[in-house]
């Protein structure tokens, strides 16, 4: 129990540090939201001074305040649950996050489950048949998918499955992108839910394609090392059924080191979501990040990173707790 409390305190410190770093980092980026908006208004034909006055009237913070004062104001807001207002969307950041998080969690969790389980099953399979065709294929496959950026894979998936094969193609609207068919009314209808899954197929496929090759290789090497252990041979000699050896002797031990990677993978998959959600114009956290960075929408950037930090810290915490349950060698004081 004391261990859990200690971990929670560390987690809080991590989150606090991350908020601080993000706060200052985005403010030293060249350009700021006021410049971006003024430039837009000037393009629309306003004269510079008028544009500047209007923009100042709508920005939610006082740009003339010194940075440390802005920081204290922001932190005070965060602690009381107010993440500020978006400049681009003219809405509270919390509202944007509440809208975006479910979409991202939906995509990420399904993708992670698919790619993790696929990786484990395939990894164990090739470990048993090492040296075979599949083994060689996956060694190449996973280094290739690792090297190709996720947005390239996403575009390839759209081009091949959407545009060329017309499997994900709407005769009126072109390739299937977005969260669901805009002609449907959101609600708990079978039609709407199936549309959500249909629209999510390609983004999920892109995630899985970019990540599962690594799971395969990790699981393979982990399985191979467990297979070399004497207790596997001894279990065989005692005549335990093959199924039992594969699952509760080999699998159980081989999967352990992958749990740590799983927590790290959650952080990775968020960074992938920035690209994949943008390519698929999927209304999740990732797309808000890329849009808000483009418009220097400080509050939204901070809010999104806050969510990602919390997700990564939490998943690490859960992975550690799970690990101690799964591996009796690890016991916390």
């Amino acid at each position: 129990m004391r261990w859990v409390i200690r971990r929670l305190i560390t987690a809080a410190i991590t989150i606090f540090a991350s908020i601080t770093i993000v706060f200052f980092l985005i403010r030293v980026m060249p350009g700021n939201p006021i410049d971006v908006m003024v430039a837009q208004l000037i393009m629309q034909g306003l004269d510079p001074e008028e544009a500047y006055r209007r923009v100042l009237a709508i920005v939610p913070f006082v740009p003339t305040d010194p940075l440390w004062k802005q920081y204290i104001d922001y932190m005070r807001g965060v602690l009381s649950g107010d993440l500020g207002r978006s400049i681009l969307y003219a809405a509270p950041v919390t509202q944007i996050l509440i809208y975006g998080i479910p979409w991202t969690v939906f995509l990420i969790s399904i993708s992670l489950i698919i790619s993790f389980s696929l990786g484990i099953v395939l990894g164990m399979y090739i470990a048993y048949k090492r040296g075979g065709i599949l083994d060689r294929f996956f060694s190449v496959f996973s280094s290739v998918t690792r090297a190709i950026p996720p947005y390239v894979i996403a575009v390839l998936v759209i081009i091949i499955l959407g545009v060329q094969l017309k499997l994900f193609w709407d005769p009126y609207r072109g390739p299937i992108i977005g969260p669901y068919d805009p002609r449907l009314k959101p609600g708990f209808t079978l039609e709407f839910i199936s549309s959500v899954f249909y629209y999510a197929t390609l983004p999920i496929l892109s995630y899985v394609l970019t990540t599962f090759g690594i799971w395969v290789l990790q699981m393979k090497s982990s399985t191979v090392s467990v297979l070399g252990e004497y207790y596997i041979m001894a279990a065989e000699a005692r005549g335990l059924p093959e199924r039992r050896i594969v699952i509760s002797y080999v699998g159980r031990n081989a999967i352990l080191p992958l749990f740590t990677s799983l927590a790290i993978a959650i952080g990775h998959i968020f960074s992938g979501s920035v690209f994949i959600e943008t390519v698929f114009s999927y209304p999740g956290i990732g797309r808000y990040i890329s849009a808000s960075i483009g418009g220097r929408d400080y509050m939204v950037i901070s809010g999104c990173f806050l969510i990602i930090t919390i997700a990564v810290v939490l998943s690490n915490l859960i992975a550690d707790l799970l690990y101690s349950k799964l591996d009796p060698r690890i016991r916390f004081r």
């Binding site: 252990e229 207790y231 000699a237 059924p241 799964l326 591996d327 009796p328």
Partner: protein, 334 residues
């Protein structure tokens, strides 16, 4: 010998392919080369040879954990690879293994009880979990782990090497085997624990009446084991059995030049003697590459007595004055 041996190797060979990637040529290692060996009920056989000579491979072949390249393994006169499923299962129960490294021999994520119980239940040695618990505790008591209940709920990470070695012995015995391969079973224990472990193995043999194939690279341990428990010593070199003799006759009066060299190389804990002792008179001290095929007697490249025939004709293993030796000139040495 008229009785059917408990386990028998007939012209057993195992060839491993190594390399054979995209660029490397495939090479072959004859780990076990045309070996015949009989082990009777309750008998002790100590298999001695240097690292890489194929002794572990032979042990695994005899247990049916490896499929032989050629030749056969007979259990009570039946070829184990031609048994039906039920017979093979029974054989699996009857033939057990004890490994060198006690730590990697037990599944680290299971308690001792969880490691012991499934096989006993699987083979219907016990009918229920409660009975399995009772029997497991009994076994741990037999191998000297007291109080047994305390050990049953422990994880392997919380035990010492010596305790683990006892657990592994108990685990092998849990399914009532009649043949146990002890593959360097005491090599990882420190010297003061070794004798205790060997004595324990032999004590349990008196109770359970199983046979041991005791694999080791250490002549001294083999000798202790055989002198105390009775049985034979088998010397192996590069996949072949070169000499077999009752008791420690092989060590007292080695017939094969390789055995002679092996004994001459055993360190003697007395600086005076070991300083005056000559090095074995070998042509070469290095073991030939395992992938190399040596025609004739495998030892002829190093043997100080080798003649023309040694490089041409493979010496048959034959009886010379109550000993089995595979050497053309065995008579000269006995």
């Amino acid at each position: 010998m008229t009785e059917t041996p408990l386990i028998e190797a007939r012209n057993l060979s195992k060839v491993f392919a190594v390399g054979g990637g995209m660029f490397a040529k495939k090479r072959f290692i004859r780990a076990v080369d045309d070996v015949s060996l009989k082990i009777n009920r309750g008998e002790n056989v100590a298999l001695v040879g240097e690292s890489g000579c194929g002794k572990s491979t032979l042990g695994r072949l005899l247990l049916g954990l490896l499929y032989p390249t050629s030749g056969s393994v007979l259990y009570k006169g039946k070829d184990i690879w031609r048994m039906n499923e039920k017979e093979f299962k029974e054989f699996r129960r009857k033939a057990q293994i004890i490994h060198q490294d006690p730590y990697s021999s037990i599944n680290p994520v299971r308690t001792i009880f969880q490691s012991l119980a499934p096989a006993m239940i699987q083979h219907k040695i016990v009918q229920s979990r409660e009975e399995a618990f009772k029997r497991a505790a009994e076994l741990l008591g037999l191998v000297g782990l007291n109080p047994p209940e305390d050990f049953l709920s422990r994880y392997p990470s919380r035990m010492s090497g010596g305790q683990m070695q006892r657990i592994i012995l108990a685990r092998a015995l849990s399914v009532n085997p009649d043949f146990i391969v002890a593959d360097e079973a005491v090599s990882m224990l420190d010297a003061c624990l070794r004798i205790g472990a060997l004595d324990l193995m032999l004590d349990l043999q008196k109770k359970f009446q199983h046979a041991y194939l005791f694999i080791t690279h250490d002549l001294a341990i083999a000798r202790y084991f055989i002198l105390k428990g009775g049985g034979r010593i088998v010397i192996m070199y590069l996949g072949k059995i070169v000499e077999v003799g009752d008791g420690d006759s092989v060590i007292q009066k080695p017939a094969h030049p390789y055995t002679q060299a092996l004994i001459a190389a055993t360190p003697i804990p007395d600086p005076k003697i070991s300083r005056e002792r000559e090095l074995p008179k070998l042509k070469s001290l290095d073991v030939p590459r395992l992938t190399e095929a040596i025609p004739g007697c495998k030892f002829n490249t190093r043997c100080p007595y080798s003649e023309k025939i040694c490089a041409e004709v493979v010496p048959e293993i034959r009886e010379v004055k109550g000993r089995l030796v595979a050497c053309h000139f065995a008579e000269n040495f006995i």
